[in-house]
Amino acid sequence: MATTTINSENGNCKEGKKSFTISAFSENHIGLLNRITIIFTRRQVNIDSLTVSGSAIPGIHKFTIVVNDCREKVEKVVEQIEKLVEVLKAFYHTEDEVIHQEIALYKVPTKALLESNKVEATIRKHSARILEVRPEYTVIELTGHKEETQALFDELNEYGLLQFTRSGRIAVTRSSKEVFSNYMKEVGHQSVEYEKN
């Protein structure tokens, strides 16, 4: 019909918004990233971070997506992701159900570091590492949770950061049940099977 309903937020968010880590395992095909992100766009769910890479199983890609939203909405998004023809499985986890990490790189003017007497203390305190030192700049690396990489950012920013970059989250579950690898054993390693003549 030519008329539409105005869809209001129906307040179906019992626990309030919180951070969820969504992981999806898919075939390694062109366009799947797009198919997955469309699901978020359509439902107005913002993606906080996204990491895509090959999984432990050859030919299977893993998407790790962090969102801050209601559990009810996240559940539905995960169902829609799993519904995609080329997605094998999708899961979602709360913060305490996963062990997660991000990596950050900081490029700082070497001169500023040399002039300061706090560099050693800063690097030590954060357990950061120096990757490269050149006369013009030094590159420092830190892995940790977002709050940790942010804390180092705030300190190094005083030296005049030249560049800063942070990766998306990667995560493994705390549970000892390996749901996905068991699923893979069940479905086998041939992605498409055809009838024989």
Partner: protein, 581 residues
């Protein structure tokens, strides 16, 4: 020319590995999938395929439409009445974008389609070449699956996957975009149908625990109520459903796409659900103690205000698409599976029951609807023809044996409520998307798919003009579509809303229409216009008896409204039966 054609599945023996062009491989693959009919429109990037088509005209009937939207809606109509995969073909760029409305319609209404589009040569992708559009990107949100073929040797395997995905599980549209170089290039052709994909599980395993839980709810319910959806028809489970309904004794309401799930004259058939559904079918939703959704998705037009929808009832939801379970309404017992498999198991487990007292409560409410709405629609005493009486008279002529197709708007709601059809797959309408312009091409596709059936199209004067060029296609095939144009000179549904909810401010809903009979005549189609009640019955008979396509235009009372109505935001208990004076 007669529009009949042999419809048996034709496959030809292909010697192992023959050397062919990609374009020929497309045709051979279609034949291997049992396709005998396709709808389309040629153009630059699909020309090699059209050239190859000429070598297979004995196996593949191609219907040249007047617009790609006409091709895809025809393929939808064809798929809906035959249960086969509808196939359409178009060129790149504008050809492909003209398919999009139909693809979106097929997606939301779960219609199996394979759409083949031409694409610029692989080397030109991303260069803004002539008629290059990112068809994969554009169609992604509205397809079940899509794929861009850039090499000829991909063609058979990808088309095999396309057909498999389109028709299994919850069906849907698939787009296969084929670069021109892949059509020109050579390959060693051999064909194997797709059997399985590890990432896709179209046949869910049914939970025995949930079956037991559902059985105990059904056995102990005092006022159970079944909501029948298109899943029953898509699963070909009409018989299984009938057995379940008769053993359980439970009354059945249906969604607009579930109209053929149970014969309309079955004693347990209560009527249509939703915004313009039947009075009892809606209000009893909020009185039942158990709601059993079968192959339906609790669309907002069905549920009205969710916070006041069946809160008193336990809910069992039979559904093949796991993402539909708990999407809108939380199920107490989900039965994830194909209803074709689930229903016989349930029927076996439940006890035979009689709910005739509960059904009588529906019938009492029906009397209210009959007195306030139905008798005025079907047997008006005022001057001015109603849509209801036209449909009612046509029912008397067809005896329920016709396929009924509608466009979108007021006439669609009248046809859903009043058209009598007793066979499976005999009601075709655009449900989820509400696509005006769907009717005429869909009716054509339905007639091509079922040439021996009478096909009646109900269409309004607004929607008719959206795809009126398909009269040209119909003239070319001579498919005997009977077009019933219910002309009220308005975009009637929008006008009704303006009258009821926008203070009678009729913004842009009046249409200055052409002489439709002359237009049809110009397309070579015979027609007649009826202005007065006394001429109606005779004119309908002439239309039904006419051997060939026919336009019957009926001048309808301008300001008639569709009732009952559950207004947007209201609960299914708050049905408006008549207009406040």
């Amino acid at each position: 020319m007669k529009a009949t054609k042999e419809t048996e599945t034709t496959t030809i023996d292909i010697p192992n590995k023959i050397r062919v062009t990609g374009a020929e491989a497309i045709m051979l693959s279609l034949i291997q999938e049992g396709v005998d009919t396709l709808f389309g429109y040629p153009g630059g990037a699909i020309m090699p395929a059209y050239d190859a088509l000429m070598n297979y005209t004995d196996k593949l009937r191609h219907i040249l439409t007047r617009h790609e939207q006409g091709a895809i809606h025809a393929a939808q109509g064809y798929a809906r009445v035959t249960g086969k995969v509808g196939v359409c073909m178009a060129t790149s760029g504008p050809g492909a974008t003209n398919l999009i409305t139909g693809i979106a319609d097929a997606m939301i209404d779960s219609t199996p389609l394979v759409c083949i589009t031409g694409q610029v040569a692989a080397g030109l992708l991303g260069t803004d070449a002539f008629q290059e559009t990112d068809v994969i990107g554009i169609s992604m949100p509205v397809t079940k699956w899509n794929y861009l073929i850039t090499k000829p040797e991909e063609i058979p395997a990808i088309l095999a996957q396309a057909f498999y995905i389109a028709k299994t599980g919850r069906p849907g549209p698939v787009v296969v975009d084929i670069a021109k170089n892949a059509q020109f290039g050579m390959l060693d052709f051999e064909y194997h149908k797709c059997k399985r994909m590890r990432s896709y599980a179209p046949e869910p395993r049914i939970s025995l625990d949930n079956l037991k839980a559902a059985t105990s709810l059904i056995n102990s319910a005092k006022k159970p109520y079944i909501l029948a959806g298109q899943g029953i028809i898509l699963g070909g489970a009409e018989q299984e459903f009938l057995q379940f309904v008769e053993k359980s004794g439970i009354p059945v309401g249906w969604t607009i796409l579930g109209a053929c799930a149970l014969p309309k004259d079955h004693p347990q058939n209560i009527g249509m659900l939703g915004m313009h559904g039947n009075y009892s079918a809606n209000i009893k939703t909020n009185e039942c103690d158990l709601l059993i959704g079968v192959g339906m998705r609790f669309d907002d037009r069905v549920t009205g205000d969710l916070s006041r929808y069946a809160k008193q009832a336990k809910i069992i939801h039979l559904e093949i698409d796991k993402a539909e379970i708990n999407k809108v309404v939380t199920a107490d017992v989900p039965l994830h599976g194909d209803v074709k498999d689930t229903l016989p198991l349930l029927t076996k487990m439940i006890e035979k029951r009689d709910h005739s007292a509960w059904i009588r409560a529906f019938r009492e409410a029906d009397k209210i609807e009959y007195e306030t709405v139905i008798q005025h629609d079907l047997h008006p005493v005022k001057p001015g023809l109603t849509m209801g009486e036209v449909i009612h008279l046509i029912n008397e002529g067809t005896k329920g044996d016709a396929i009924v197709v509608t466009d979108v708007g007021q006439h669609q709601m009248f046809a859903s409520r009043y058209a009598f059809h007793k066979n499976p797959r005999s009601f075709v309408t655009s449900g989820g998307l509400g696509t005006m312009g769907f009717g005429l091409p869909a009716a054509h596709g339905a007639k091509i798919g079922c040439p021996d059936k009478q096909v009646i199209l109900f269409v309004g004067d607004g929607g008719f003009q959206m795809t009126i060029q398909e009269l040209g296609t119909i003239n070319q095939t001579q498919a005997a579509v009977k077009i019933v144009l219910l002309n009220n000179k308005y975009l009637g549904m929008v006008r009704q809303w303006q009258q009821l909810f926008f203070d009678k401010r009729y913004s842009e809903t009046y249409l200055l229409n052409p002489d439709f009979i002359k237009v049809a005549e110009g397309f070579g189609i015979k027609g007649k216009k009826v202005l007065e009640r006394p001429q109606l019955a005779q004119a309908i008979q002439e239309m039904l008896d006419h051997n060939g396509p026919y336009l019957l235009e009926v001048s309808i009372e301008k300001e008639d409204n569709v009732f009952p109505m559950v207004p947007t935001g209201a609960s299914v208990s708050e049905v408006i039966l008549e207009q406040k004076k």
